[in-house]
Amino acid sequence: MLLWIGFAVTVAAVFSYVPVFVPYPITRDIPWANLLLFLLGGWMLALGLRRAFGQPEWYRGKISGAVMGVLALALFGLFCWGLFVFARHIPAADSAPKIGQQAPDFTLTDAKGEPVSLADLRKSGNAVLLIFYRGYW
């Protein structure tokens, strides 16, 4: 039972990140909430495995526990790779215009399909914050 709960917590640690913790910068920038969940799940799995192997007359789960333990480790590895390695795989943007330079003008279409230029955005003395984002395709 402990093994199953531990495994469930580990799975939750992976899949809760995007829907639950990404919307809040405090749990997104450093995924401490997910790492805590991993720690909890890992601790339960370890305890469950120790019981299964130490007192097999009382506790079951030698095989299922070992399988879940390996899967949990793999999930943890995937999570760390995704967040700490893959997320940093972005080009350096060395050719980006520098502070003090004129921002390249442009004309693009907005969500309604209407053309909008940088000059339009700056009209009536506005400053403009341009947010480039990956998009949702």
């Binding site: 997104r28 080009p91 921002a103 969500a111 909008v116 940088l118 990956r134």
Partner: protein, 124 residues
């Protein structure tokens, strides 16, 4: 994006327009705005030309090796001069609205213009 939407009043107070740019189509952007309730501009750059001119293209970064934008923020003043740039090295870690507002106040001018531009949250 959500945090910028919820701080939109603070940006308006200071006379800062927000424009989000990606390779998404107009249709995709309008769907996003509708779903999330975003009211600032979402500009569509499907060929990535503007994204390239700002040096923030991520070649083959998207699905099916599509060229997309890497996350980045540029603060441009009313004369069109770039005053602040944020080029993250991690797609998860983005500029927060408070940080941008702080930079604006430091570099360009604080919310002193508020009175001239109308009450907080009013339409400019």
């Amino acid at each position: 994006m959500r945090s910028f939407q919820s701080n939109l009043g603070e940006f308006r107070k200071r006379g800062v327009r927000i424009a989000a740019i990606s390779v998404d189509s107009n249709f995709e952007s309008s769907k996003l705005c509708l779903e999330q309730g975003y009211t600032f501009d979402f500009l569509s750059d499907p060929q990535g030309e503007v994204i390239r001119s700002y040096g923030v293209l991520h070649p083959a970064g998207g699905e099916k090796s599509r060229d997309i934008a890497r996350p980045a923020e540029f603060l441009v003043d009313s004369r069109g001069v770039i005053r602040w740039v944020n080029l993250t090295d991690n797609i998860r870690v983005r500029a927060r609205p408070q940080a941008v507002l702080q930079q604006f106040d430091r570099l360009i001018g604080g919310p002193a213009v508020t009175v001239l531009r109308g009450a907080p949250g009013s339409q400019l």
